[in-house]
């Protein structure tokens, strides 16, 4: 025999060689020793986990000539050898996928009656038995129930739900489990050693991960690698063969995310893109690792994460820096990328956007909330979320309370975030301030001065942006403009901007609940926010009336509230309100100004007042 595939060459010849499936091995061994072999077995499980190997082993074991039953199958007696070489006439392997009809089953049943020619027991192995037709199953039923003493049946299938219950109840059923990454890696090392292949550190784990529990796949990959590599097989070869992105890039990105380092994160992505790697695969790998981290963190159970030893160590170093809400947020973000990456004309832009979003919004409930508005310490402190345990809510750092709640912020600061690692934070980074703000008192104490340094640097058309209401700037004498009012208006518009930003998503989310309401929403747009009420501008009375029906309104309100993370109502109006020239109107205008926006972004500022040029 010239060359044989590794997986065939390494098919286990004795129970000891078999990897995993200990529960099946022990049962079958006992059955041989106690002479309690059942007349029908059903092996189920995913591909490449040892079903066919086990069936062969059992065929040998019941026919083995070794004097001590405990040593069967010995793999050396004539019976074992003839079965291993596939020339035993009494061991019949039938591929049900190509013999599906009743006739095939009938033929088989007729032959079962004859005694075995050479061996003790006739063994019928029906592989892929789910492919048999219903009639064929029924024909088999009687024989399975009371087969002659000299015959046993072994059915193997990957899709057990296609096997009729009547068959199931007559077979001893064994479920084969997937090979874990660790045990696959161990086996790969053993095979590689015996085949004199040198593997770089981490290669077995990488192959094991890609083969998702199937030993045959794993050995197939190893064989392919061996055929085109001379010398040591390195990780790079594995990655290029499997189209995997290098794990290092994934790790680098996760490190950067955990450290909240935007620059590092973007660098990691650019690295991947430059390599020309498959970005969707990269995103999938990323989600896979984040998931493993989530599982580890949530359950504290290392077995659940199912990773190799090397990765487990890595996960363990990440775990203290991660927390579940953030992980959830990230997984949501990155798992949604697959679709975008497939359709986008902009290369890796969606990935970059996702990273930025992941870092600037450390929030679960308000994924689209602009961080600049949320991070200032003034408003969020005013309305702490009702019951969430807040480790150190610092009322002392709280400026005068704002009357109207700013809902998205309720969610924002509440999650206990791991203390920011100072050295990694860019001085004016959004996340830095955000994390400061939501951390303990001392943290916000640091944040405030940083923001107070902000005003006066970007005066533009008389509009002043400023971080903190306490009067670093003299208040003009115009009476109605209290800072409170300005802050409220400011908060309203920040919400409005969020809604405008998320409007398409809101419409999309409405669709599954009611396509009608979605259609209605196409004809309206959000124009204003009054506290917790969103004002929608409808194009006709018809739209207004229908949207204001209680059932429809509730749908829209639900979706909006969910999107923004808070409780909102809606109100419809038909006329466009003349752009009011009061404070609200001006703030609205000012927020649209590029420079003002930039100032607010950079300095985490919010508008407290508007002064015209002459002022």
């Amino acid at each position: 025999m010239a060359a044989q595939s590794l997986y065939r060459k390494w098919r286990s010849q004795t129970f000891d060689e078999l990897v995993g499936q200990e529960h099946v091995v022990q049962t079958l061994r006992n059955a041989i020793v106690d002479e309690r072999v059942a007349h029908a077995y059903l092996f189920t499980g995913p591909r490449g986990v040892g079903k066919t190997s086990m069936a062969r082993l059992l065929s040998k074991a019941v026919n083995c000539l070794a004097p001590d039953p405990a040593h069967r199958p010995c793999g050396t007696c004539p019976a074992c050898v003839s079965i291993a070489e596939g020339r035993a006439v009494d061991v019949i392997e039938m591929d049900a996928a190509s013999n599906t009809s009743v006739e095939d089953a009938r033929e088989l049943i007729e032959r079962v009656q004859f005694r075995p020619a050479e061996l003790r027991t006739k063994v019928y192995t029906i592989d892929e038995c789910h492919m048999l037709s219903t009639a064929a199953f029924n024909a088999l039923l009687k024989t399975l129930e009371e087969p002659p003493d000299h015959a046993i049946f072994i059915l193997a299938t990957t899709e057990v739900h296609k096997v009729p219950a009547t068959i199931l109840s007559r077979c001893q059923r064994f479920t084969f489990t997937r090979h874990g990454i660790a045990s696959t890696a161990v086996h790969l090392r053993r095979v590689a050693e015996a085949e004199a292949l040198a593997l770089e550190e981490g290669v077995p784990e990488a192959i094991a991960r890609a083969s998702t529990g199937s030993m045959r796949d794993a050995l197939g990959v190893l064989e392919q690698l061996a055929s085109f590599t001379t010398g040591t097989i390195g990780l790079a070869e594995v990655h290029s063969l499997l189209g995997m992105t290098s794990a290092a890039e994934v790790y680098a990105l996760i490190e950067a995310l955990l450290d909240a380092s935007m620059a590092e994160a973007l660098r990691a992505i650019n690295g991947v893109a430059d390599q020309g790697a498959d970005l969707r695969q990269f995103a999938r790998d990323l989600v896979e690792r984040l998931r493993a981290l989530l599982l580890l963190l949530a359950s504290g159970d290392q077995a659940l994460a199912d990773v190799g030893a090397d990765e487990l160590q890595l996960l363990a170093t990440w775990a203290p820096r991660a927390d579940i809400p953030r992980l959830l947020h990230w997984i949501k973000l990155f798992s949604g990328l697959d679709y975008q990456l497939r359709t986008t004309p902009y290369g890796h832009l969606p990935l970059e956007l996702a990273v930025v979003e992941a870092l600037v919004t450390p929030v679960v409930a308000a994924p689209s909330a602009p961080p600049r508005a949320t991070a200032t310490p003034s408003a969020p402190r005013a309305t702490p979320p009702p019951a969430r345990p807040r480790p150190a809510a610092p009322p002392l750092a709280t400026p005068p309370p704002v009357p109207r709640p700013a809902p998205p912020r309720q969610e924002a600061p509440a999650h206990p975030v791991t203390p920011p690692t100072e050295q990694n934070l860019p001085p004016t980074g959004g996340v830095a301030a955000a994390e400061h703000a939501e951390d303990a008192a001392q943290a916000s104490a640091q944040a405030v001065p940083a923001q107070q340094a902000a005003p006066d640097e970007v005066p533009h058309e008389g509009t002043r942006t400023e971080a903190d209401p306490p009067p670093t700037v003299p208040r003009p004498a115009r009476a109605p403009r209290s800072p409170d009012e300005a802050a409220a208006a400011n908060a309203d518009f920040s919400v409005l901007e969020q809604i405008e930003h998320a409007w398409e998503e809101i419409k999309r989310d409405v669709r599954p609940k009611s396509p009608t309401v979605q259609a209605l929403l196409h004809s309206v747009r959000p124009v204003d926010v009054e506290g917790a009420t969103i004002v929608l501008l409808a194009s006709s009375a018809f739209h207004k009336e229908n949207l204001e029906k209680i059932a429809n309104r509730r749908i829209v309100e639900d979706v909006i509230s969910r999107q923004l993370g808070g409780t909102y109502g809606i109100r419809c109006t038909i006329e466009a309100r003349a752009e009011v020239q009061d404070l609200r109107g001006k703030i609205r205008e000012a927020r649209k100004d590029d420079l003002v926006r930039a100032a607010m972004n950079i300095f985490e500022a919010h508008i407290v007042d508007i002064e015209t040029d002459e002022g």
């Binding site: 020793v33 077979c171 992980l327 959830l328 697959d338």
Partner: protein
């Protein structure tokens, strides 16, 4: 002599037939036992089988399966009924019916009058537990009382299935061994969706680790994630119904009737529903709808959607109250 064996307990039926077969001396068994299939039964064949003389034995045994079900009403049935009166005494004629018999059929009344009827109902409740324990003893192993309960939970109440499972378990632990709940978990496939219920239980208790582990176990069992999501939605709908009706102070039995669920399902649901505040359930349901749409439009992988939902539900506990 006429017999009619019927009822859903296939194992007991087969064992009763085997017992009758054992009365015929082994060396001439093949000559004195005929098995006929009711689907293709002709009266002549039956008569020929019954009227043949026993060979080196006192009696002949003729076993006919599913004849009552497949004999058409009218002439065919009347003829068969008439023949039943003429069956020679040297013949033991056994009718074995897999499905429920029609008690108004003329054949049934005739057999009731002139033969022996045996109904085989599978054991239930405490009787079933005793039955399982006794069977395990026959295999030469001991079955822990919790394990007995557990194996029934996982494999269901069908005696044939239980028998095969017990044989497998007994082989695993070896002679004189003891089957524990852990053994059962290891070897018995969950055909009753117990794991799913356990998972929902953990989820409603918001134990994130256990719930994630449960979700994982289900995926390992080869359940499709979309199916699990669907079952989650179904369970949440049940909980919604239960919560609503409990608020109206209805009794569990009445709730079960109202919702068209089994009483034990409802009792369990009442416990689970307590863990959720008003509005929370419909929120979860809405979230599932979103995820469902997302999985079906390719915006998220179903496995990830499942884990996300689990984690959100459990974490939501800390933020929600």
């Amino acid at each position: 002599m006429l017999y009619l064996f019927y009822g859903p307990d296939e194992l007991a039926r087969s064992e009763a037939v085997a017992e009758l077969c054992a009365r015929v001396p082994v060396d001439v068994a093949e000559l004195n036992i005929s098995r006929l299939d009711g689907r293709r039964l002709k009266l002549e064949t039956l008569a020929a089988a019954c009227e043949a003389m026993p060979f080196l034995a006192d009696q002949r045994l003729v076993i006919v399966s599913d004849a009552l079900k497949h004999t058409k009403a009218g002439k065919e049935r009347d003829e068969l009924r008439a023949y039943l009166e003429r069956v020679p005494p040297s013949c033991l004629l056994v009718f074995v019916e897999g499905e429920d018999v029609d008690r108004r059929s003329v054949l049934f009344t005739q057999l009731k009058k002139s033969g022996e009827l045996r109904e085989f109902q599978p054991p239930q409740g405490g009787e079933l537990v005793r039955w399982v324990t006794e069977r395990a003893r026959r295999f030469g192993v001991r079955l822990d009382p919790p394990a007995a309960q557990h194996v029934i939970e996982l494999a269901g109440g069908d005696p044939r299935t239980l028998q095969t499972e017990l044989e497998k378990l007994a082989t695993y632990v070896g002679r004189k061994g003891t089957i524990t709940s852990a053994t059962v978990d290891l070897l018995v496939q969950d055909s009753q969706e117990q794991n799913l219920f356990a998972f929902l239980d953990e989820l409603s208790m918001r134990r994130i680790g256990a719930a994630l582990r449960g979700a994982h176990a289900l995926l390992e069992d080869g359940q499709a994630p979309t199916y699990i999501l669907f079952m989650l939605a179904r369970q949440i709908r049940i909980l919604l119904g239960v919560q609503e009706l409990v608020a109206q102070r209805m009794r569990p039995e009445a709730i079960a009737a109202e919702l068209g669920q089994k009483p034990f399902v409802v009792r369990k649901a009442i416990e689970q529903a307590r863990a959720f505040g008003p509005g929370e359930l419909s929120e979860l349901h809405a979230r599932l709808l979103e995820l469902d749409l997302a999985t079906k439009t390719g915006r998220i992988q179903p496995e990830t959607a499942l884990e996300l939902f689990v984690a959100e539900t459990c974490v939501g506990n800390h933020s929600g109250r």
